[in-house]
């Protein structure tokens, strides 16, 4: 994966995190919630998951609860 693509993914994930609105069913965003939303965009061609986020993303993304 190139650095540009990596940064593109991080930016997309950060956008999902920033746009999250808590609800009764989902009071906080979790790694599952983040990746699920990213998968629904259809952009996850590399099939990254929580492990990739922990290894490559800055806070607070890398510390999201599992």
């Amino acid at each position: 994966m190139t650095d540009d693509r990596k940064q593109e993914i991080i930016t997309a994930l950060q956008g999902i995190y920033d746009g999250f609105e808590p609800s009764e069913e989902e009071p906080e965003i979790t790694m599952f919630g983040l990746i699920s939303r990213y998968n629904s965009t259809g952009q996850n061609t590399e099939l990254i998951g929580g492990q990739w986020v922990v290894a490559n993303c800055p806070e607070p993304l890398c510390s999201l609860p599992s």
Binding site: M31, N39, G49
Partner: protein, 206 residues
């Protein structure tokens, strides 16, 4: 300067000597002494003293008293992305001496299948029948806060016992001892979409 007869001085020393030796009980000493601490009366044997180390032999188990159940939840797969028709990597349940083990699956696509090994065949393609309820082409999705709970029986019950448990109570009665090295997997049965899957294991002791 005072003059004192030698005979008087000798008498004084004798008085002190008699008192120290206990032969003179009438002379009150100028200094009192007290004993700090004492043994209980009637104690004649030496008291046992544990200085250090363990009184339990190295080869003996350490007795432990537990109150209630103890449990741990471990994450086996953290929001993995599984392509349509694909599966997670093999996940080791990491079983030891748990009384019960439950697999918790969160998944945003359906249908899906939970398969795994068992007592005599630990690999992940052992089928869905070591679990109760059976999760074969399951048509529900599950959030991270509401995962699908499935009891792991440890053996492929229909083959080993010739019957399928009808209730959780029966499933627990059929449960076999857990072994190490059991692998499981979750299959994404959706025809086109990538599934997000988190798998956890609830281990219960006591």
């Amino acid at each position: 300067m005072a003059n004192i007869l030698l005979s008087t001085l000798a008498n004084y020393w004798k008085t002190v000597s008699d008192w120290v030796k206990g032969t003179d009980t009438t002379s009150a000493p100028k200094v009192t002494a007290s004993i700090v601490g004492s043994l209980a009366s009637g104690v004649t044997d030496a008291l046992p003293v544990q200085l250090s180390g363990s009184i339990i032999a190295r080869t003996s188990p350490v007795p432990v008293q537990t109150v209630g159940n103890t449990y741990i939840i471990d994450t086996l797969a953290n929001a993995v992305s599984v392509a349509a028709g694909g599966k997670t990597d093999d996940l080791d349940l990491g079983l030891t001496n748990e009384r019960e083990a439950w697999v918790l699956v969160s998944i945003d696509k359906q249908p899906w299948t939970l398969a795994g090994g068992h007592l005599l065949y630990p690999l992940s393609d052992g089928g869905a029948y070591a679990f109760y309820p059976i999760r074969n082409n399951q048509t529900t999705t599950h959030s991270i806060t509401g995962p699908c709970f499935t009891f792991y029986m440890g053996t492929y019950v229909p083959e080993t016992l010739g019957q399928t448990p009808a209730t959780l109570k029966e499933a627990k009665e059929f449960k076999m001892p857990y072994r190490s090295g059991i692998k499981i997997k979750v299959v994404n049965g959706h025809a086109t979409d990538t599934a997000t899957i988190t798998v956890k294991i609830l281990r219960i002791w006591g």
